[in-house]
């Protein structure tokens, strides 16, 4: 036995002395961290350096550089591409808001269980099947060129508006399915509890189910948000002067593609932080679920 001879004596002694102090906070140990970091940094430098050397020493490199990475052309194109990118951001946020709202309507209608809702449920199912089955690009062309050509009285006539509508209709079909998966993931007991308290079906959705469902689907929605940010560029095919369109205009007059690289850089600047945020939210969500399961 390694314990003190008298257990009781040991305990009173422990009580008198109190618990030992918390261990000193472990500082960052430079020496322990230095070697792995150094190896990592060196190997990155070597590999990327070798790649850069191979690329830049190729015979064609000067031509490629002049065509795609001409600093001069980039600077010249930048203001207009940036202006176009501002259009992308505005369209993106507007369309996003419409998608989230319209998809919520679709998902709610689809999850209503009352028998008289059957025709509306069926309509939503058909809607989702159609709009998920047709390429967004095709819808954008159809709406963005087709509807303005009709000159319908009382309706807006701009390609931008109808192209945006096409994106909302298409994306909402996906987002509605995401919402629905979130609604289905809420435990049946929650419905039972709400119903047993006398909440109507709508109140049950509104107060008990939807708040939980929306929290469940935030990570999945973040991915849609990122994808949409890029797909807004599809509107350039119907003549909306977004970043891609502006870059193309520049390219057409100079036969230099650097402006497209500028546009690509702007998209990356916007989407990479969002993708990181999406990863973070997904991770946090997984942690929360693990904790709840435990």
């Amino acid at each position: 036995m390694t314990r003190p001879a008298s257990a009781q004596g040991g305990q009173t002694e422990r009580a008198r002395r109190g618990p030992p102090p918390p261990p000193p906070k472990q500082g960052f140990d430079w020496r322990a961290a230095a070697l792995p970091s150094a190896i990592g940094a060196t190997s990155i430098a070597v590999v990327f350096g070798a790649l850069a050397w191979i690329v830049t020493s190729a015979d064609q490199w000067p031509r490629i550089k002049a065509q795609f990475f001409s600093l001069e052309a980039m600077v010249a194109a930048f203001p207009r591409v940036l202006q176009g990118f501002w259009v992308n951001i505005q369209v993106w946020l507007t369309v996003l808001a419409c998608i989230l709202a319209w998809a919520l309507v679709l998902a709610v209608v689809r999850s209503l269980r009352a028998p008289w809702c059957a025709p509306f449920r069926l309509m939503v199912v058909i809607y989702i099947d159609i709009f998920r089955g047709v390429p967004v690009l095709l819808l954008v062309l159809l709406f963005g060129f087709g509807i303005p050509a009709l000159n319908l009285p009382g309706l807006p006539n701009s390609g931008l508006f109808w192209g945006g509508v096409a994106m909302v209709l298409s994306y909402a079909a996906y987002v509605a399915e995401i919402y629905r998966s979130g609604i289905d993931a809420v435990h049946e007991g929650q419905r039972a509890a709400a119903k047993s308290l006398g909440l109507s079906e709508w109140q049950t959705l509104r107060h008990a189910i939807l708040p939980q469902a929306l929290r469940n689907v935030v990570p999945a929605l973040m991915n849609i948000v990122v994808a949409l940010q890029k797909d807004v560029a599809l509107l350039s095919v119907i003549g909306v002067r977004d970043a891609v369109r502006e870059a193309q205009i520049y390219t057409a007059s100079t036969f230099n593609y650097s402006s497209l690289i500028v546009a690509a850089g702007l998209f990356l600047l916007a989407t990479i932080p969002m993708a990181r945020l999406a990863d973070y939210l997904t991770r946090r969500d997984r942690m929360r679920r693990l904790q709840m399961a435990a």
Partner: protein, 248 residues
């Protein structure tokens, strides 16, 4: 006197599976009825029929002599008069304790928020949960969550309380605090139907115990007689198994 709850030859199928087989039972005012029976015998289903979470296929359930699907109850009258508490608490995880228990009074019964919250605080204080009004369910122990769930069911001042294995998910040391609340409710004269696997508790609080087997009531009697000298072989076998597992 008309019984508070009268279950009259109720039959329920899930698909082609017979889950309740011509169940007839009645519970008098202030009476406590315990339902016992093996897993899958239909105990939860019966409770769920009583507050219309599900509808029986045949038969009638009456509350104070009025069928529970009668229009006089309106959309929510029955739920106001018969509260149910579940094994898994089923609190709303995104709401505070206070919001959980005031949701139905506010949204369903139109009580203004200040009054609903005053009633809520009163109810929480009564169950020793006064300090947890602003807490979220996940911050509470199982026993505390179940006390909140009972408070939530009592907020509309029901005449009948239906309890479905409310201690089955609890750690043993937390069972006592929840059972104490049920004892208190019995002393106040609450009419209750209690599904439980705690035979000791059933023996103590029940005025009558009913044994359910494969959807049918095999026998019902006072706890002394049902536990002491069960008549049916299947009841005897069930009780022997319970005794063997040390729960009587």
């Amino acid at each position: 006197m008309t019984p508070r709850i009268e279950i009259d030859t109720v039959t329920k199928y899930f698909g082609t599976k017979l889950v309740l087989d011509r169940v007839s039972l009645s519970v008098a005012r202030h009476e406590v009825l315990c339902l016992i029976g093996a897993s899958g015998s239909g105990k939860s289903t019966l409770l769920r029929c009583v507050n219309r979470l599900i509808a029986q296929d045949y038969g009638t359930i009456r509350l104070d002599g009025v069928p529970i699907d009668d229009p006089v109850f309106g959309k929510t009258g029955l739920q106001q008069r018969a509260g149910i508490v579940f094994q898994a608490y089923n609190l709303f995880p995104h709401m505070t304790v206070l919001d959980n228990i005031t949701l139905a009074p506010r949204r369903v019964h139109g009580l203004p928020r200040p009054e609903a919250e005053a009633r809520g605080h009163e109810m929480l204080a009564r169950f020793g949960m006064a300090d947890f009004a602003r807490a979220y369910p996940e911050q509470l122990s199982g026993g505390q969550q179940q006390r909140v769930a009972i408070a939530r069911a009592l907020m509309t001042r029901p005449d009948v309380l239906l309890l479905d294995e409310i201690t089955a998910a609890l750690d043993p040391e937390l069972v006592g605090e929840v059972l104490a609340i049920i004892r208190g409710l019995k002393d106040e004269g609450m009419t209750m139907m209690i599904v439980t696997h705690e035979m000791g508790f059933a023996r103590e609080v029940a005025d009558r115990v009913a044994f359910l087997s494969e959807g049918a009531i095999l026998e019902q009697d006072t706890p002394e007689r049902l536990f002491g000298s069960p008549q049916e072989p299947r009841t005897q076998a069930f009780l022997r198994r319970i005794i063997a597992s040390g729960r009587l």
